[in-house]
Amino acid sequence: MGNMNNYKSENPDSQMKYNRRDFIKKMAIGGSTVILFGCRSLAQPSGGKAKKTLTYSMILADYSKCTGCRTCETVCSAYNHKQMVNGEVLPGLGNPHYSNIKIYSYNPDVDIPVACAMCPDNPCIEACPVASDPKTGRKALYRDEKTLAIKNDLNRCTGCGNCVEACRDQRAGVIIPNPETNKPERMCTLCNGDPQCVKYCPYGALSFVTVSPGREFQGVPADMIAKELTKRWYSIQN
């Protein structure tokens, strides 16, 4: 994980308080206002253990470099949607449908890669009604110990869809319910620390970085980012 900068908040509690009403207010003024993502705390959300500062990492897109080629979708799908072939587990064929990163393309041409923003305050986990396991502290939706990526325990998940809604209403809407089970899918796995999308993007548009609260467009839906960038890039007023 050589390309991960070690981000540590000096004072987690001083981070901007965040609630849904605030967020909607910001959305409404949106437009030229820089849309910020705030996080309640960088401390581990639940489990009752002693507070520990954690480093959250994510896939960051440079929208000015992305060409909308969707190579990232195919490599993400191949790596994360493995296939059983003659008793052997092999990378999949790269069908973008199974990708955890999605490219949304607009007219005028703007292409927005969207992957899990790894929000430290994880509204998705907060929304999950399944009780925390006393031993692990995990709900049905939880963070992977190594990468801190959001994972779903298929055995405990009830398919209620609360997490899907939370992500859709409060953040970028990356969590998609499985069409049959309604259980959450498409949460970025960070490819276990070796992000394939970053490695294979032919244009160097993606990077593996530390989540930085306050970074522009953090956890913002693609439509809104596209609207803002269209204005910035294609309007002749400025």
Binding site: V85, L93, H97
Partner: protein
Amino acid sequence: MAHKKPGYHGVLLDINLTTGKSSPKKISSQDIGMFIGGRGLGMKILWDRLKKPGIDPLSPENPLMFMPGPFSGFPIPSSSRTCVVTKSPCTSSLHSSYPFASTVSYSNVGGFFGPEIRFAGYDGIVITGRASAPVYIVIDNDRVEIREAKKFWGMGTDEFDKKFIEELGDRRFRTCYIGPAGENQVSYACIIHTAARAAGRGTGCVMGSKNLKAIAVRGSMIPDVADHKQFLAALEEASQAFKGISGTLLTKIWRRSGTAVSIERSSKKGSMAVKNYREGTFSEIDKIGADAARKFWIRDFACFCCPLSCKKSGVIKNGAYAGLIHDGPEYETGTMFGANLMVSDLEGLMKAVFNGDDYGLDIISTGNVIGFLMEAYEKGIIDKEFLDGIELKWGNIDAILKMIDKIAKREGVGDLASKGVKALSKRIGKDSEKFAIHVKGLELAAWNVHVEPPKGICYATSNRGACHQSGNTVEAQNFRAMIDSIGICRFTTDWGHWYLPGLGSDNFSRILTAITGIEWTKEELMKSGERIFNLEKMINYREGFRRVDDNLPDRFFEEPLSVGSEKGAVLHREKFSEMLDEYYKIRGWDPETTKPGKSRLERLGLSFTLQDHQI
């Protein structure tokens, strides 16, 4: 599907707009093995469906096909192309006895449409019939719906692109559609994709004749491959081949300028369409080339899994068209509305390109037609009244914009002009056919031929009329027919002298073998290219196309270039005829009639075409 071949769904989506019914149809494994997919498989279906010569291309019988290839949908670099195959509404033959005789048509378009057809579970879409009122089709995996499109009829492609995706409610749908030109059945209307990519050369006219405004596709499938491990290895090899060259000069040029890099180069070499092909060099070329356009380019965009991003989108910052957002100019659009019409006003040129695309016109043919009218007007063969009062002088952007309007709407002079340059010159007469720049009724593209006789062979022998992409030699033509059938972009192949040394026939055969389980070798691939080209020829031959139809306009033999570094260049009629003789000899075709020889057809597995009593 029990007979499914690896690498294919083995299924075509067959939609009849007259009955409103759609159904999956099996594809024979033999056809897959012989014709690959894309252009090749499309041609085989065209042969099977037309059954007889002389069918009106604008009749419900003419199938309109969207054909991805076996590479489509897999993450193979630049495997983004779809071939639109149909019987051409643009071409006609000199002596055929069939009133609606026309050639085959195959139009290649990049972007995301072809891969999505494969994601939806099909190896192609075949549309026949005619809806009684405007409709659009939504294909969502196995759900196919035909919906009313009345409210969209008449809408320009740029606005429609945005409105349609809103109506569909999911940005992950991939769409293609026609503009007013296709609706009005301008013979050279296009099918547009992403408001910026086009399947040109008349396909939009056929779509319009079916009352079909648009198609939307979305899917979640992909065929299996025959050898999973070998496929992954071949893929890695291909992506390494690209890694090796990304950062090289060739990649940089594509990314930096796209095809527009050729605008200045071609003018310098004398190979550009200038002043209705009278010249090959334009003195004001620096005003409309890539370096001039760079000032309003904002970003590069790419097709599915393509590492080149040859497309540029931008916004005009000042002048009469300030605020206009569009992509380009590319080599073809920039030349046909630029140098060919003596336009040096880049902002005006971009406005013309935008309007052309927005109407869904083929800019190659439109620029060619307007160039012809400008010359006829200059020569006094037609007057201002003929032009409905338009002062159609070289370089006059306002007049050009007016003419584009008239053509797309088929108003006044635009109605005649909408039928193409061959029909126009026939109507005008007075020796104007000498500067009506077409072959078999299809207008030449932005590459001039005075300085490049092999390009003349390319135009003269192309199976869809004057196509600049057909290939200058027999080998190039076979190679390109194969490429168009696999579903990959020509710009990333190693063919020729200046394309990327990235992917070659060796890579293709390895990947295709892993995907299909059919032992494809380089030789077999080239042979299927030859097979496909010959099947096209047999369709054309059946329609009545003969050697007289493989000819170039007199201009290239009679009027040497008068400016530029290649001043004096002109084609030599006898030598050109000898080149054609040589061409037919290599092809194994009769030099008098151009009929493909029996033994060649047998060797290619095309004996079935000889059993057709109409040939």
